[in-house]
Subunit: 133 residues, 6 copies
């Protein structure tokens, strides 16, 4: 149920560059979910204008995915995290590439969007691990 998300036991985490200390992989995930839905909707719709609008919005949403992931990589993750999770640099690099020209920006392929979501989930798991410590 939705409201449980706002229950006090679930920390909504940090992202502004004061830094305020609030980061949350959900920001990238919400945009990536949006990208996936766009791909699905285009698959069900032959209208050329709709496809154009979908392209414009997919471009923006994919860029937001990249931005939110970059923020995590630079502003949240610290050297000890990179030591503890040696895959982290490559993982974030691949995830951001998957939201770019060779990924969701460059195609309407739902599988590509799913692959991106998979990477974001793995980043979210690592993020959750670092929060436990």
């Amino acid at each position: 149920m939705f409201t449980r998300f706002f229950a006090p036991t679930i920390e909504v985490s940090a992202h502004c560059d004061l830094p305020c200390g609030v980061y949350d992989p959900a920001q990238a995930r919400i945009e990536a979910e949006s990208v996936k839905k766009i791909c699905e909707k285009v698959a069900d719709n032959d209208d050329a204008d709709f496809r154009m609008r979908a392209m414009i919005i997919k471009e923006q949403r994919s860029e937001l995915v990249k931005h939110h992931l970059w923020v995590l990589w630079t502003d949240y993750f610290k050297p000890p995290h990179f030591e503890q999770f040696p895959e982290l640099h490559v993982l974030v690099n691949e995830a951001t590439k998957l939201a770019g020209a060779s990924g969701t920006k460059g195609s309407f392929d739902v599988a590509t969007a799913d692959e991106l979501l998979g990477k974001i989930d793995r980043i979210a798991e690592i993020f959750a691990e670092t929060k436990k410590g």
Copy 2:
């Protein structure tokens, strides 16, 4: 635990104006949490430059709160929702005002940020109700 948020049974909801159908009050809440943390950090820090940076960032984050709430009000909520929840127009209007000049933009008061968070939580509850449909 964080990763449960990403469990398949919890729908991450919609927001782009295709519309993709993905909306999520979490977007406004994350920014508002950030605003609150900024207020708390300023209360603990006498440095004038820090206060200036905090002001700049609080201004941006508060604007994002307003934007995400406006998107919900215009793009997600439909006439039947407004009928079912007669408080909704005033609630969103007050919430966005609370993120403006007379609210978190205009002060470093933690109580104001909490009041804003309270409104966002109420909007999230209504949002969750409409999802149950």
Copy 3:
């Protein structure tokens, strides 16, 4: 004649969130006029590239219409205005929807742009009424 608009008896009204107290429905109207012209030009032009550019720009201009109307709704209009004009919440909500996916973003229909302009004119009338008081 244009220059009369700048005559001292005509108040140019307010919009920044200091707040500076300067708001003006003309901002939304100018963007909506632009949206309408785009629709008219596309109706007269078969070039596919032109249509694409028109789509990109219509998307941006429609978003600006929404933004300017949201600013009026949150930053300019106060509780007494909403009491005096009970239609105001629904009016602004409908106007912003008309600049979205179900409105000018989603089609090149000139009639839709005209409907949006009609709503903005009604908002401008109410705005003018509140300025008299």
Copy 4:
């Protein structure tokens, strides 16, 4: 009275780069009015935080003045206009400088804001002349 501005005999003019053909010096003027009000409000208010917010917003509004004037200079005015009004290049250049570091960005001086408004009014007069032709 405000609503006369929206009367059908008064053309609301052009600005997007389709181009839609809609341009309007009012866009620059509204932002410049906002800048002036900010300067006036700061003159009446000793609060340091208020001054900081005013600075942030004045910076943004001044940038918008520059942008709207640049758009007129590049997108609206054509070679015959520059021939007919030999002062036009220098006028727009000076106006945009007046909204920059050596103008309203760099000070809270109301007289500077008035000087900027004067230049915008002159540009608006020339604009109105070109519309008559």
Copy 5:
């Protein structure tokens, strides 16, 4: 060779509106080079989706060209420069028009992009002349 560009004898020049005093025509040129490459790639690629993406990005990059040139015109160049180089107003005006609807925004023509690059190079030469003084 690239690294020579970063050698201490080559001044990287100025652009923020503090002003910091750092301006550089390279900013406009990099975006214009990008616009040209986009035109060339589209000429070699029949895919409709690719053309759409190219259009979206060309629109943004052309806008950046305009912005960087406007910044030079308003923030860097001073009255003595305009006296010394009487062609400067018209040159910058034409260059920004060439990055607009009647230029690179409005077509995928490589020759148009080259014409724009030519104007930027002439502006860069004048810029370099003013730096010598």
Copy 6:
């Protein structure tokens, strides 16, 4: 001399996410030079308003440094580059951190700006190496 930069033998390199193939570390460097000049100017100027404006602009310019470096890291550098230059992930991560809260955003220290410039120069060297291949 400046104009040599525009000589045909020096490739101005790539950055948009078509991708157009044009990337250039000069974009990050220009912004970082600007940040350094801002720090120097503040050191020579006691005016509180000037410091505030400097803070606002330094925040924006530092963010641009981060953005341009992120684009290189995600869009330009490919797996073979990361293999050939094992320091690259950490180098870009450190450089972007140096343009953030713990770096140039968080202080007016000229030495910090210099440290950032040093990292950017190293990235530019690696970039130049990959172009030779």
